[in-house]
Every structure is written in C-alpha cells, then in structure tokens.
Amino acid sequence: MEGLFTFAPAIVLFPLVAFAITLLVGRYLPLGGAIPGIVATGGSLALSLVMAAAVAGGETTNELVYTWFETPEITFHFGLLIDPLSAAMLVVVSLIAFLVHVFSLSYMNAEGETGLPRYYAGLGLFTFSMLAFVVADNLLMSFVFFELVGLCSFLLIGFWYRTKSAPSAAKKAFLVTRFGDFFFLIGVVAIAASYGTLSFAGDASFVTAAESAIDSETFFGFDADTWVTITGLLVLGGVIGKSAQFPLHTWLPDAMEGPTPVSALIHAATMVAAGVYLVARMFGYYALSPTALAVIAFVGGFTALFAATMGCVKDDVKQVLAYSTISQYGYMMLAMGVGGYVAGVFHLLNHAVFKALLFLGAGAVIIAMHHEQDMWKMGGLKEQMPVTYYSFLAGSLALAGIIPFSGFWSKDEVLYDALIVGLSEPLILAAYAMALLAVFFTGFYTIRMVRLTFHGEPRSEAAESPHAIGLPAKIPLAVLGVLALVGGAMNLKPLEELAGLEVAFLERWLDGQGVGSVDGLTYHAYSETVHYGHEYIGGPEGTVILSAALSLGLALAGAGLAWTLYSGPEPTRHTERLGSLRDLAVANYYQDEYQVWLARGLTLPLARASDRFDQTAIDGVVDGVGSVSRFGGERLRRLQTGQVTDYAALVILGVLALLVVLGINGGWFL
C-alpha cells in the first residue's frame, strides 16, 4: 500500500480498538464508555475523508492485507479495495456512526440506561464490521463481515434483554436474515468453486472470469450465463435478507425494539444498506445476467410499493420509518436492476443521511415524549422542539421526494432510469409503475407522520410538557438536516440533461472521470455490459421532464392529501375509512403469519422426522459401534497383563510373525 492508503486499515481498526477498550474497561470509564467510540469513529471519519480526497486526487488501492490460507486452486485472503464507491460509502458510514455515537449521549446516557458499556461495545463492533465490509476486496471477506454486522444487529436489537419483545425481535431478525445468508453462503462457495477466485476487482476477479467463461464454458452442467444467473441469485438471497426486501422484510419492523440510535445507524443507514452495497460492489457480475437484473428490479419495485402501503396505516412513529426504510431500499434495488448503478448508489447515500436524520429526530421526539412512540399521543411539538422539527421536516421532505431536498434528485433519477428501460421491457415497466405509485404513498405517510407528531394540539400530557433534549442530540440533527437539504447537489442529472451543465458529479465520481478508478469497476464499464436498450418519449429531454413531473406531482399529491386530511388541532383517524383494506395493511398482509406457519407447519415436522431418523438409525449405528468398541477394548485390556515377560514374548512373537509373512511373500527362503 502506498501513500495515504497506508493508513486505510486504521479506518477499520479504530472502532475495533474502541470495542475492545469499552468491553474490557468500559465500566470504569466516564459516560458509560462512550468516549472511545466517539474518538474512534471521529478518527475513522477523518481518515475516510482523507481517503476520499486521495481518490479525488486520482488514486485507488486494491491490496492484499492478510492471506488466510492458500491452496493451489484458490487463495482466501483479506484485502482492501478503496475505489470511488467504497470511499463514498466509508465517509457516509463513519459520519453516521460518529453522529449516532454523539446522539447516544442524549438518548442513552442522559436517560440513565444501565449496561452502557455493552451498548457502546456493540456500536464499536458494529462500526468495525461495517467499515470492513465496505472495504472488502473479495466476496468471502464480504460474507464474513456481512455476518458480523448481522450479529451486532442481533446484540443491539436485544439490548433491553429483560423485556419480552426485544429478545424475540432480536431472534427474529437474526433468523430471518440468516435464512437469506444461507443462500449467500452457497453462492460464495459456488462462485469460489467455479471460478477459483472471489476477488471483486482486477484481472483475477470472478467477474472477469465469468465474462470470459460466457459462451465458452459450462459449470456443473449449466451454460456459463445460466450459472452466473444462478450464483447471482444465490448471493441475492443474502441481499434480500439484509436489505429487508420482500419476502424477507419481516424482521425490520420488529427490529425497532432496539434503542433508536441503533435503529438509525444499523436498521436505516448502514447495515440494511449492506445488501444494496453488495449488489453495487459486484455489479459487474449482475450486469452479465439480464435475468438476475430483472429479478432485482422487480423485487425492488414491488417492495417499494408493498412497504409504502403498510407505512400509511402505522401509528408508531418508528414503525412508519421502518416501513419507509424497506420501501426506499426497494427503490435502490430497482435502480440496480435497471442498470442505474449511479442512481442506486446516489439514493443509497442520500437515504443513509435523511433516514438516519429521521430516526434520530424520532429518537429526540421519543426522549421528549418519555418513551411514548404512538403518534396519536403526540402533536404540537413544533413550537417546543424547533431544532428537531425543522431538521425532521428536512428529512421528511427528502424522503417524500419534494424538490429541492436530496431525496427528490435521487428518487427521480431512479425512476427515470427505470422508465427509459421499461419502455422496451414490459416487466421493468411494471416494476417502474409500482415504484411510481409508491411515490404517492411515500408522500402521504411522510407528511402524515410530520403532521401527527409536530402539528395540531398536544394529545397527551407528555406532549404538553416534553422533556428537554440536550445538545448532543441537537448537533447531529442539525448536521444531517443540512445534508438532507443539499445532498441532492451531488448529482443534478436532470440539470445536466436539460441545461447542459456539467453537474452530475456523482456520476463522474463513480465513473472515475477525473478521479481514481479501478479497471472494470466504473459506470461506463457496467453500462457496456448491461444488455438493456433505452427508449424515450419525446427525446431524452422530454423523458426527463415527464419523469420528474410525474414523480414530483405524485409526491406532492400524496403529501398534500395527508396535509389536508390531518390538519387542524385534532386530526381524525382517516385510515379507518379504508375498512378491511386497512386491516390487511395493519396486519402486514399476514406476512408474519404465513412465515410462522411455514416454520411450524413445514419446518418443524420435517425437523422432527429427521430427528427421529437421527435418534434411531444414526444413533443406533453409533451405539452399535460403541458397544463393539467397548467389547474390543476389554479384550485388548486383557492383553495388557502388566507382566514385562509377557510383553517381551509378544514382541518377539510379533517380530517373528512379521518376518514369516513378509519372508514368504518376498521369497527370501527360496
């Protein structure tokens, strides 16, 4: 590693050190052990910015750090891959981790929680794992840290382990994501076995190997392109679990049982992003398979709409945010699936910022409301918590996709990319239509949430006299609020298309134009591989305007509807007029029920049957072997008489027997 990249491992290691310190001596430290974490994530943030500057200066690195072990066929190693994508992600992850650490001082310390060292140790371990996942240069390393972030999520959701719901939610999150990771693991093994490498970049990457194998080789009886699809979809299993896509999204709303800063960091901004990030990281591979891309796009579009409808009827502020998270990740998947790599990453970065903001804002509200999360018991907080209100509003408008907030620009780009592909691909068009419709619902539930929480008259005692929040809560909110407002400036693609200004900065960044890039990991390299054609209505400019007008119009319509419905000092519960449709959405479309049924009705009997087989057939054989060996052992024991003369005799007899047998064989006596 050269130059500034020499320091790159420190980005990852700082939080690990903080984790170790907090775990070992946390209980003797002031502030429940928060300081090592804050210092470490601050250091990681500073170094991440340095890395981003290095990438901006035209450098990248793709280096091996430690060889785990090697065989002639394959080498397993850990390495660093810092290119524009990972550099951007590093900055966002370490920024949010830092802000969440700071915010926790208000949310956890000031509220007199116990077990704080455990909390901060968990955050440290998580930050370490997530950063290591981001810089991973190969799929195995990704998998390792993918699992570690899952473990941290489990530990932190279950932080309040004395309650009944938190441990159960932790278990659910762990099991559901593990179900997806199971496919991921098979995918890793399959990719390793077929290409002999797991690296993301360089000549020896599995992407290059797959590219050259297509049209010439077969794997395990499949054509190479079918095999790419199969393995790609296997890895996608992990992505769907982690990024909470249909049908493995059920764990995320339950995960809100964890402390709210944890929800902000893990279950909104970073860990859930790991799935989409993985797709982006190995986008070259997915680009080879139109089928896998179509699956990604369709799952994404469907999830975007499906989750948005559920978000409209929730009363718990964190639940609304949870469903909106699922929905927004759907948009990113849609973008990836239509080849809109830049749009997907753009939305990923924006969403990380504004969703972390919304969760932290919700956290501030929850502190103020003495841990009440029901929006119907809030109201009127606008005047009493101005900082929270205005930053939360900025986040909400970004989420709803209202110009000029960041979410508008990225969501618009996602939808535009989907539209131009969809015009020639009916399946993609359907995904686009669902995502477009979801824009309306997004606008609706977002503004409903803002209205119920902050406007009108206070509807409970807690809302009348909210608890004051401290400076450590306000600063992160303000920082993120500003970012949610201006984040869209990263990639003003419509302005570039319409006015010819060169303002699509992120596109050039991810394409390595004027900055460092790794061969094969650039936007135009991906675009060349993706097989989609593009069609336009009224030329590219016309389509840009049409798409923007459609999404903005729908967002405004949804937002406006909510604004009017929930106006006034005492808003009414309008969703109840939906009748059975509302019941269906409140019950989450019975997703939990059918999954529980699958576990109880299918898996459990199967497990019982195999247990019975194991108990009788396998154990029977094992017991049999045991009896035989005990019997044999007893016999052998009798040979061991303790008499040295017997031993000597046995030795001599043994030697003679060997000599006779071998001598007759070898013909020595002839």
Binding site: S629, L636, L639, Y647, V651, V655, G663
Partner: protein
C-alpha cells in the same frame, strides 16, 4: 544478521548443542549446591536453554537453512554426511525444544519436594539433546547413537521418583523392553550393513537402486541382490525398533505402563517429544535409505504398505483401548498410541501418489500434537499436584474449582479429537485429505472412524470436569504458577495454530518435499 553459513559448519547443530550445553550448565549449578538445590534456578535454566535452542532453530529456519540454494542456505552436511541439517531436522528440533521448555516450566511446581532436582533437569536436557540429534542423524550409526542418547535418560526419568513403587516399576519395564527393542534395532542395522556394505542412508539407497554388483564406496564385488533376504529381515527389524520408539503396534505395550508410572511431565515429554523424534527417524531412514520401488523390487514387499497396515492397527488398537480406560493418564497414554497411528499415515502415503501432502500433514500433526498432548499430560500433572486422584470420577466438577485450567483442558481434548476450529482439526483434516488424494481409502476411512470414537472418550473427560458434581470438595484449588503458565501457553498455541496455519503448513510441506526429493 549473520548468515549461519558463515559460522563453522558444526554450528548448524545449534539447537542440539544449546540443549547439550544447558545440560552441562545445570550440572554445574547442581554440583555447586548439591544438598539444597535452587529449584527456580534449575527449572529456569532448563527452560531458558530450551527457548534459546528454539530461537536458534527458528533463526536458522528463517535464514533458509535446508532450503535449496540460491533461495536459502542449502542443506548443511556434517562429518561426511553422518549428520545433516535440513528443513526436516530443524522442524523436529523446534518441536523438541518447545516440548522441553513446556515440560521444564511445568516441572518447577510438579517436582517440588522431590529429591534429585539437578539430575532431573539435566536428564531432561540430555534426552532432548538426543532427540534433537535424532532429527539430524543421517547414518544408521548416528541414528542408533542418538536414539540411545535419548532413551537412556528417559529410562532414568521414568524411574526418578525413587520411593514411588509405580515409578520404579514403570522405569524397569520401560528399560527392559527398551533394551530388547534396541537390540532388535541394532541387529537390523547390522543386517542392512551386511547386505549393502554401507551405513550412511543415502549410500544405502545408492546400493539398493544401483544394482551394479559393486560396493558403492570401495568398488569391490558386492552383490546386494544376492542378499535380498538379509536386507528384508534387516528392514523389518528396523521397522520394529522404530515402532517401539513411536509406541506403535505391536510395540506399544510399554507406553501405558511407562506413562502411568512416570511423573506426569515426563509422560508428556515422552509421549510428545520422544514420539516425534521416533518419527523423524522413521521418516529419514525409510524415505532416504529405502526408496520404495527399488526396495520392493529387491526384497519383495513394499514397506509403505507395511506402514499403512501398522497405521490402521495402531490407531484402532490405541483408540479402542483408550475408550475403556477409567484412569485418565492411561486413557491419554492409549490416545497417544492412537495418534502415533495417525502420524504413521504420513509414511504409508510415501508409496502412493500425493506423498508430500500426506507426509507434510503428518509432520503438521506431530507439531500440533506436541502442544495439545503435552498440555493434556500437564493437566494430569496439575491434577496430581492437587492430589485429586487419577480416575475420571476424581476429575468430576474440577471446572468449578479451577476454571482456567479446565478451559485449557477442554481445548486440548477437543483439539485431540479433531474438532474445528482447533489445531488438531486442521492437521487431521489434512491427513484425511492427503490420504484420499493418495488413494488410501481404507486408511482415510479408519482415520474418520477412529476420530469419531476418540471423541467419545475425550468428551467424557470434558463432561466430567464441567458437568458432573464434585464428589467431596467444592473449594477452589491452588494455582501453581509454572504449571499454569505451561498449560496456558500450550492451550494458546493449540488455538493460535489456526490463524498461523499458513506458515506452519508451508514449512511442514517444504520439509516433506525436501526429504522426499533428496
């Protein structure tokens, strides 16, 4: 850094010389104050000497001794090829030095209150010197001399608790059987010499492959093929002698007796270092002196098949007998017989393909085994130090009374059984994989079945210390510094072998490749 080649050639024996010199230093210390020995000084000197030998060995390894030029310093040959220092020799010198260090540290507490302190440590060091020399021996004469140098102190060490009947009886048995096997071994040497006319291992190989009808050195008429029977009997007798040293079937009888009676650190020493030294001789003699195909053509049997049969018999008998023991030390003794069977697979694989892999795996296994087995015996030493008793039942509930030591014990047991992610798993896995590659399906199958069986009795001990209720006492137990330090060092190494797997496996494979191609 000074390259070892710039030192006098004899310095290549550095680890062995350091061990020998330390033995003399211990003598001096002891003779200065014969009646009130300073235990700490003696044990400390011994441990320091072994660690120094270890350091020298590691240094040579890093400096590339044994690695062919130009990358390394090449194999160093001493006294006209009577001794060679190559990667294999260094590898086993390291194993010996490590075990000696662990045993010395543990003995500080164990030997507390016993007489003959000075003799004890110097005998340990002398035996270690013999083992290190065995690693470098390249002629049948030096092999025998080194073997005796290692064996004679061992007999005395087993019997060192002179007022303990068990110890004395075990020492005598060990000595008698050892003398018998030495006689058999030296007779084998004389027959091989008679058939080939030479003693140096590579010359023996030359005589066997040459078929020139001439003596390899003098050029006089000497027809090796005419003495095929003589050579065959000689090889069998050598094999029997080696089987004694490695405690392999059919010469394993002494092991349970000797280990049970001996002080537990000595049992650890014998079952780890002495066994490893026996293996280095087996590997050196058979791979260098008796090339498989030429020898088979001459004497009519393939010795690698003989090793395969011995391997399966040894692992099966060792494990089956271990499964029915009630005495923990005896169980470990039989388990060490079983592990000799696993290591023998390395030699069995030499006749088949993929032989570097199998032999390398066997070396690897001996390396890991040095830690886990020494550690297991040291736990027994600790139990004897506490005086809790000798059977499984006596170990009940120790987990609550001495948790740290019992965690170490658990690591050793699971590693011996070959459970991931511990060191023992990897080496066993490599052995399994290697024997599959070599097409030895039966051996591979026996390895798996025996490992599964061994899990039964190893986990029985783990169950006893953690899950059973203690019979009488519930108080916590003393924590002797030396024993604990050795125990924890061994446990840490057993675990650390996994991340350090790459370099260790590389050096084992290199050593195996070098000895097979030379």
């Amino acid at each position: 850094m000074i390259e070892p080649v710039q030192l006098p050639d004899a310095a290549a024996l550095g680890p062995a010389l350091v061990l020998g010199l330390t033995a003399l230093v211990v003598f001096v210390f002891d003779s200065a104050r014969p009646h009130e020995p300073d235990r700490g000084l003696l044990a400390g000197t011994t441990a320091a000497g072994s660690l120094l030998a270890l350091g020298v060995g590691v240094w040579y390894m890093i400096a590339g001794v044994g690695v062919p030029e130009p990358d390394g310093a090449g194999v160093i040959s001493l006294f006209d090829g009577q001794l060679v220092v190559d990667q294999l020799a260094l590898f086993f010198m390291l194993v010996t030095a490590i075990v000696t260090a662990l045993v010395a540290i543990a003995s500080y507490d164990y030997m507390d209150g016993h007489a003959h302190q000075g003799e004890y440590y110097s005998l340990v060091l002398l035996a270690a010197t013999g083992m290190a020399t065995m690693a470098a021996a390249n002629s049948l004469v030096t092999v025998f001399l080194a073997l005796e140098l290692a064996s004679l102190p061992s007999y005395a060490l087993v019997a060192i608790l002179k007022d303990n009947r068990g110890s004395v009886e075990a020492g005598l048995k060990y000595f008698l059987l050892g003398a018998l096997s030495s006689a058999i071994f030296v007779y084998g040497i004389s027959l091989v010499y008679g058939a080939t006319g030479v003693l140096q291992l590579d010359l023996v190989a030359e005589a066997i492959t040459g078929e020139t009808g001439q003596h390899v050195l003098t050029g006089n008429a000497h027809d090796v093929a005419g003495h095929d029977g003589l050579l065959g009997v000689g090889i069998v007798l050598l094999l029997v002698g080696i089987a004694f040293k490695t405690a392999s079937v059919p010469l394993h009888f002494w092991a349970p007796e000797a280990y049970e009676g001996a002080p537990a650190p000595i049992a650890a020493f014998l079952s780890s270092a002495s066994k490893a030294a026996g293996f280095v001789i087996a590997i050196r003699v058979f791979t260098t002196a008796f090339p498989v195909e030429a020898t088979a053509g001459l004497v009519g049997f393939d010795w690698s098949v003989a090793f395969a049969v011995l391997a399966v018999a040894t692992m099966t008998i060792g494990n089956f007998a271990a499964a029915v023991q009630e005495n923990v030390k005896r169980m470990l003794a039989y388990s060490s017989v079983g592990h000799a069977g696993y290591a023998l697979i390395g030699l069995a694989g030499v006749g088949a393909g993929a032989n570097e892999l199998v032999l390398g795996a066997a070396l690897m296994h001996l390396f890991v085994y040095a830690f886990m087995n020494t550690g297991a015996f040291l736990f027994v030493a600790l139990a004897e130090y506490w005086g809790v008793g000798r059977t499984f039942a006596d170990y009940n509930g120790l987990g609550r009374r001495a948790p740290i030591a019992c965690v170490a014990l658990t690591v050793f047991m699971f590693s011996l059984a070959g459970i991931p992610p511990l060191g023992g798993f990897l080496s066993k896995y490599l052995l399994f994989w290697g024997s599959l590659q070599a097409g030895m399906l039966f051996v591979a199958g026996a390895l798996v079945v025996n490992s599964a069986l061994s899990l039964y009795y190893y986990s029985r001990l783990v169950k006893a210390v953690w899950f059973e209720e203690p019979v009488t006492d519930h108080g916590s137990l003393a924590q002797p510094v030396g024993l604990y330090a050795a125990l924890i060092a061994a446990a840490v190494m057993t675990v650390v072998v996994l991340p350090g797997f790459g370099p260790i496996a590389d050096s084992a494979l290199d050593a195996a490749t070098a000895v097979l191609t030379s």
